[in-house]
Amino acid sequence: MYRYVIKRIFMMIPIVIGVSFIIFSILAFIPGDPGSIILGPGATQAEVNELNHQLGYDQPFLQRYANYMYKAFVSRDFGISYATRLPVFQQIMQRLPVSFLLAASAMLLAIVVGVPIGMLSAVRQYTALDYVPTAIALFLASLPAFLIGMVLMLFFSLWLNWFPSNGIGSWEHYVMPTISLGLPYASFQLRFTRSSMLETIRQDYIRTAKAKGAPESSVIWHHAMRNALLPVVTVAGNNFGLLIGGAVATETLFGMPGLGTLIVNGINTRDLPIVMAGIIVFTILFSLIILLVDVMYAFIDPRVKARYTSGD
């Protein structure tokens, strides 16, 4: 098991290198050089060139990439933000908790709402308890999160004045972003749980359990649920990773200083160190979450555990 985890951590290295290279290449296409961005319109071209030289921006692409990676991973220096002059790493670490908390609460909402209702829908297939939640879920899945956010803002901030509309001061600040981000994912979790559960209750071992004389509740909660949750856990883990970086629009709308907005601002202001480091940190985090999910999976499913320990 440990060997498996260590192996997986080593496997993250090529991923991080690859992702950083892709992003570095894409960013290299972005028009605008750091010098003229930092110095603004008032600076001379000579000053701009000088700064670009200082930043190593006049070097060939591959050399710049190699320098960046060397600094980032050997001396753990992700550089200084062009826009704020703050160390990039520090800024990211400041913002990570916000995104993490938003993603975690949205995920929690998605799980708390989606999974039980999905289970219920599957168990009561072809009844109103199935049709109504499924239809609502399909509807919610068709809404962009920011649209939900706009409507929530209108109702709960403007008209009812229940929740603050902006910033991250207190737990109340998280209520609306959580809902607007969580609802589409809840609907996704619901649909996924439902189909996973439907798949599970068709399995032979469910029939075996029934033939044992187990009552329906025991069949569902004891036998079916844990098996049905296996894929649900994986998908939730995947989504959790994506939510952290994917909540860009929600973070923007609610003015939350998260990793998403940081990277988006970085893209907008050509703050390349921020974008690079942001996406690298995100990738590592994402891989770690996936690993965590996989390890968790092993504790739920003995077959998977056996596969890990055998070193596959």
């Binding site: 032979d204 044992k212 004389g213 187990a214 004891h222 844990r226 098996n227 077959r303």
Partner: protein, 676 residues
């Protein structure tokens, strides 16, 4: 008379979906006495499992519905019990074993948990947790599994062991009745023998009544007291085992079933299959459902058949045996035979010694699969040769490498070492172009008629595909015309030309596969379990077809199968494989008459035969299960399971030795008995 433990009276079950309604079980009645076993036999779709599920009241909730009749268990009508009451009956009084042990255990719970669950649910004796634990140990011991493994998860057990656990769960609460739904169908023949023997022993020791659902008449003969034959939802014949296997009056369908099975102990040139197919359950023929396939069809057969009592225990549901028919017409003589009694063996045909060079020959053929850092020896040094027009049968349990062998010979898999000679030329050395031409001469018929046809291609397209690829004809019309002729050859009605595979049943699909295989006029065909997925009546049709085509086109077959009776029927010579190696190779009759290798012997004795005399024989059940030949150690690979294994078997590889009459065996133990 003793009160039966279970009586099913006029049971009717329908499956209702939005589109159609299926009469899955139609007015069946039978009863089961204490300590008795009733076998329910029939082909796919006969309603056997539905009957069992009705007794358990476990029919699919939304679709399945019991529309009439009664099921009395120990005097209680099960159909009038509430769901909660029924839950007390299930597991405690009636237990059920399902077909596929691979999927009937919950993968995330330990086997101990799964066994104790039943005990906790039906804890009538107020057992303490310790007592329950003790009982789990007991039950596991009972089914031959060490109690120390109760903390293990299902995936840590092999198929046979899993089925033992399923049986342990069923028997944990000592139910008075056990329903076994095809309990051994998914298992290899040697494991099947082990499990069957165990079921028999436990039934006798625990005095359990049992319903044995199976399609295998051999299993019925070995385990049952009473037999019920079902066809299209109806019970068409029921009787004591002696009535069915040795009596002289039979329903035409039962007779057909017996006729379809290749016999182990006799040489039959042709099987006598039941013509036609099972009717579509959504539109059953009026009257007797079997009448469209019945050779004795009468006008009266389009009215429902009456149940006729032949004697105290034997009932047949057929117009032929109705009083008026019996009076008015002469009962066909063929219906009065007793099908299962061995006939005198027809005179053995001496093996013709042709001195022709073999068409197919392999020399030291090896195929290893790399699995991480070790090698799986799927095919390990196989030498065989097949003469033109002959059939070599390859038998062995699953995982013995027989399918791999077929594919390596056809170069569908790359051989690791050795030669495959076709007409004396080593085709393994051929280049791409030459091999493509070679491909026309060698074909394969695959096992699964469902996955062996491209579901997006119509029948005619499928058959024409090889000809299009190989450009045998100039125009597409010519190719299609030839495809239609091939359909005639394999007995496939022309109206199916534009059908898609999923619209056809397994038998017809297999005919498509055969038509495709012979479309390029090959000389050699590898038949990879071509009939194992088919019901017996269809199996017989396909076997006959294969033999007819062989004769007509002078084809050479490599016939791969795990079914010994089939291989006996079709092969001239037989090669027995075990873990990638050949353990015995002899002429078909020779091998069956005097098997020499301990494995062959065990294999032969493990087959349950639809024959009462044979079934009463002492069966030597082989120990253990087949494993993976991953980096196998030196020595006989069968040693671990062999009763007469000695030290030499573990230290040296046995070589194939001719014991006369080209009967090759690889076993050290025989060398003492060498005749010359």
């Amino acid at each position: 008379m003793e009160k039966p433990i279970l009586s099913v009276n006029n049971l009717n079950v329908i499956y209702k979906t939005r589109k159609f309604t299926v009469n899955a079980v139609n007015d069946i009645s039978f009863s089961l006495n204490k300590k008795e076993t009733i076998g329910i036999v029939g082909e796919t779709g006969a309603g056997k499992t539905t009957t069992a599920l009705s007794i358990m009241r476990l029919l699919p909730e939304r679709t399945g519905r019991i529309t009439g009749g009664g099921i009395h268990f120990n005097g209680d009508n099960l159909l009038s019990l509430t769901e909660a009451q029924m839950q007390c009956v299930r597991g405690a009084n009636i237990a059920m074993i399902f077909q596929d042990p691979m999927t009937s255990l919950n993968p995330v719970l330990t086997v101990g948990e799964q066994i104790s669950e039943a005990l906790v649910l039906h804890n009538t004796g107020n057992r303490s947790p310790q007592q329950i634990e003790k009982r789990v140990d007991e039950v596991l011991t009972l089914v031959g599994i060490s109690p120390s493994r109760k903390k293990d998860y299902p995936h840590q057990f092999s198929g046979g062991m899993k089925q033992r656990i399923v049986i342990a769960i069923a028997l944990a609460c000592e139910p008075s009745m056990l329903i076994a739904d095809e309990p051994t169908t998914a298992l290899d023949v040697t494991i099947q023998a082990q499990v069957l023997q165990m079921i028999r022993d436990l039934r006798n020791r625990l005095s359990t009544s049992m319903i044995m659902i199976t399609h295998d008449l051999g299993i019925v003969a070995q385990t049952c007291d009473t037999v019920a034959v079902m066809y299209a939802g109806e019970l068409i014949e029921i009787g004591r085992i002696a009535d069915i296997f040795t009596g002289d009056l039979h329903h035409p369908y039962s007779l057909g079933l017996f006729g379809s099975i290749p016999k182990m102990r006799e040489k039959t040139e042709r099987l006598t299959p039941i013509p036609g197919l099972m009717p579509d359950p959504t539109c059953l023929p009026a009257g007797c459902h079997f009448s469209p396939r019945c050779p004795y069809r009468m006008d009266v057969c389009n009215t429902p058949a009456p149940t006729c009592k032949m004697n105290e225990t034997h009932q047949i549901r057929c117009h032929l045996f109705a009083k008026e028919s019996l009076v008015s017409m002469h009962l066909p003589e063929s219906l009065k035979t007793s099908p299962a009694l061995p006939k005198d063996r027809t005179q053995e045909s001496a093996i013709e010694e042709k001195h022709e060079a073999p068409l197919i020959q392999t020399l030291g053929l090896k195929k290893y699969f790399r699995i991480k850092n070790s090698y799986l020896h799927a095919v390990d040094d196989i030498n065989l040769s097949i003469s033109r027009g002959k059939t070599l049968g390859v038998v062995g349990e699953s995982g013995c490498g027989k399918s791999t062998l077929g594919r390596v010979i056809l170069r569908l898999l790359k051989a690791t070492a050795g030669e495959v000679r076709f007409n004396g030329e080593n085709i393994l050395g051929y280049g791409t172009q030459k091999m493509r031409e070679m491909r026309r001469k060698m074909q394969i018929i695959l096992q699964d008629p469902y996955s062996s046809l491209n579901p997006r291609m119509s029948v005619v397209e499928t058959i024409a595909e090889y000809m299009i690829v190989n450009k045998t004809f100039k125009t597409r019309q010519e190719i299609f015309n030839r495809a239609v002729k091939l359909m005639d050859t394999v007995g496939l009605a022309r109206r199916y030309v534009n059908s898609y595979p999923h619209e056809l049943d397994g038998g017809r699909r297999q005919r498509i596969g055969i038509a495709r295989a012979i479309s390029l006029d090959p000389e050699f065909i590898v038949c990879d379990e071509p009939v194992s997925a088919l019901d017996v009546s269809i199996q017989a049709q396909i076997l006959n077809l294969l033999m007819d085509i062989q004769k007509e086109h002078e084809l050479t077959y490599l016939f791969i199968t795990h079914d010994l009776s089939v291989v006996k029927h079709i092969s001239d010579e037989i090669l027995v494989m075990y873990l990638g190696q050949c353990v015995e190779h002899a002429a078909s009759d020779d091998l069956f008459d005097s098997p020499m290798h301990p494995y062959t012997k065990a294999l032969l004795s493990a087959v349950p035969e639809p024959d009462l005399s044979a079934s009463r024989r002492e069966i030597s059940v082989i120990r253990g299960e087949i494993t993976n030949p991953i980096d196998p150690p030196v020595g006989c690979r069968f040693a671990a399971r062999c009763d007469s294994c000695r030290d030499i078997c573990r230290s040296k590889d046995p070589q194939l030795v001719d014991y006369g009459n080209k009967h090759y065996v690889a076993c050290f133990m025989l060398q003492n008995y060498r005749v010359f």
